[in-house]
Symmetry: C2
Subunit: 347 residues, 2 copies
């Protein structure tokens, strides 16, 4: 027989700590963790208190996974792909190049095999994970010079990491991993030529527009970047069922709210940026194609070295290949018609 959790039938008073990888200034990413904690606190009549700490305050931003694994903190709010170096399969929990968009990612996680596969991966780290937000398709970043051809990528010192960094380095980019706070000075000094972060609202705050004029799209390495909640497995198993259920509902609620916030804020931020001189550019088709091809190479190389990665990649990309044609029918044709009609109406 399995022992019942310690306070299974109770509503215990708990004071937990959540280490975030994000800083207070980014009210989108940081704010989602706060919303989640508020739902949990209110739903339990104030009995289950989760205090959120910004990245660097009690745990360095890129060590949140380790801190939850070791139970230094009970909870974390981070992104799987920050730990790409430990295990590239963790990147599927955030985004991988030319992967799922927001809605496809939600469907994969909650209605298909995504959650089961990610739980298997995080199991290695003694962590129970939940989605806790999605930014939507990100922008392709800020560049001091125009990117007119694949050749313009050569030697480009760019702030990016994980898979995107590996793919871009095949095309000559020199990827640099820098915390958010160090990016602006590096761009200003010219020791960095380009940077990608999220999208108009966050990027505007970080001031990139002042030092890099060209703003490219789309961020093909993040078609929909999911952020995650981490819970130490031993602590999770001790929670009463009611608290576990509140965590599940609150994490889904926070996930959809983060996307709504970004969708609400990005549009006006982009308008402000454009009015102040930012030059918006789509990546040239030849650049997109070269990145697509390089991505397939990186996937093959990683699969050859890592059996589990290969298995998850097949599941994830199989799901993409299944869903994308359907999204092109009703959704895309609707969006396209409305977009074109509004453009015509403006003229």
């Amino acid at each position: 027989a399995v022992a019942a959790p310690v306070f299974a039938q109770d509503t215990p008073t708990l004071n937990w700590r959540l280490a975030s990888s994000f800083t207070r200034g980014l009210d989108t990413l940081w704010g989602t963790g706060e919303l989640f904690s508020r739902y949990v606190r209110e739903g339990t009549n104030g009995k289950f208190n989760i205090r959120n700490f910004p990245g660097g305050e009690i745990v360095p931003p890129l060590q949140v996974l380790d801190a939850v694994q070791k139970n230094t903190v009970e909870m974390g709010n981070s992104s799987g792909y920050y730990y790409h170096g430990k295990d590239p399969s963790l990147s599927f929990d955030t985004a991988v190049p030319f992967g799922l968009n927001v809605r496809q990612m939600n469907a994969w996680m909650w209605e298909a095999d995504g959650m089961k596969l990610m739980r298997e991966v995080y199991g290695d780290y003694n962590i129970i994970n939940f989605p806790l937000g999605n930014t939507g398709t990100q922008m392709g970043g800020w560049y001091r010079k125009e990117i007119k051809s694949v050749d313009d990528l050569k030697g480009l010192k760019m702030r990016t990491a994980g898979f995107a960094g590996e793919v871009l380095s095949l095309l000559g980019v020199v990827p640099q991993q820098l915390p958010a706070g160090d990016i602006y000075p590096a761009l200003e000094k010219g020791t960095l030529d380009a940077v990608e972060f999220v999208g108009p609202y966050d990027d505007e705050k970080l001031g990139f527009a002042k030092v890099a004029k060209f703003y490219y799209y789309p961020g093909w390495w993040e078609g929909g970047a999911q952020t995650s909640l981490y819970i130490n497995k031993g602590e999770w198993e001790k929670l009463p069922k009611s608290y576990q259920s509140i965590i599940e509902a609150a994490s889904r609620a926070a996930t959809v709210t983060m996307t709504a916030r970004y969708d609400n804020l990005n549009s006006t931020a982009l308008r402000r940026l454009l009015s102040q001189g930012t030059q918006l550019r789509p990546f040239p088709r030849a650049v997109m194609d070269a990145c697509w091809d390089a991505t397939q190479k990186v996937y093959e190389q990683t699969s050859a070295k890592n059996e589990r990665f290969k298995r998850i990649l097949a599941n994830y990309m199989g799901y993409r290949d299944e869903l994308v044609p359907w999204f092109r029918i009703a959704e895309a044709s609707y969006d396209q018609y409305v977009g074109a009609a509004l453009s015509r109406a403006k003229k």
Copy 2:
């Protein structure tokens, strides 16, 4: 001084009834109400029990709003546009022709003025509303004959209602309002020429493919159809804060889960339908343009008669006009590139 709610500091045992407009067979629409109730029950340690009744069992499907208003049942799960005849502003709570897609609707409701405006409208009916699901962009329906031009719409007996019916009747369609169960026999007898319901997964279950061969897209009258939770205002105000918070989080969680379910299920359902002879067709551009123009006329006519409708329309469409150009940048260019790349890869 205002009296404190009866059991504000307590966790009372409550047994509530929720009348749904949907039937058990539609596990997408019906299932979302069940998921919501499960989150509430589990989160309150089984103290707050909401029993869901299918449409027609204790309340007729199209009288859910009235039943909640009169407190015959404490809760309802329905669609605002079913009550278009009472007040056309209620349609904004579901979908209106050429309106917001899923993500834009979520952003309008939760991060902009949507919730405030809809609460104002439902206030007339003594109801507190929450979003409780969104189907995504629907299909344009099933037709026994091809729609090659605007002329082919003339005299078409079509199952549709509300705004879509008003717009289509300007183009010669004869709109019919029928409950889901009566549609199939009417199509079979030929007393109905066309029907729109939701999308591949639900439509397949209702058997439309057996009697109508042509399946059109997109459903321009439902770019993202939101379904709603209704709570009698007096009952809501008596709830303790913790139960109110659990309802809010659970309704957001259920909303995003419904969309994920549809996104997961529609793709394979469409594939089955196509393999069994369904002919997929986009509405011809001239038909879409005629519908767009007729829609603007209906909006003008309705605005001329109804001041509040006019005010909400301006807010809602202003939001669409603000967000759509941004969605065309990162999101649409990403989706389009991936879609085209996969098509090329298949060849």
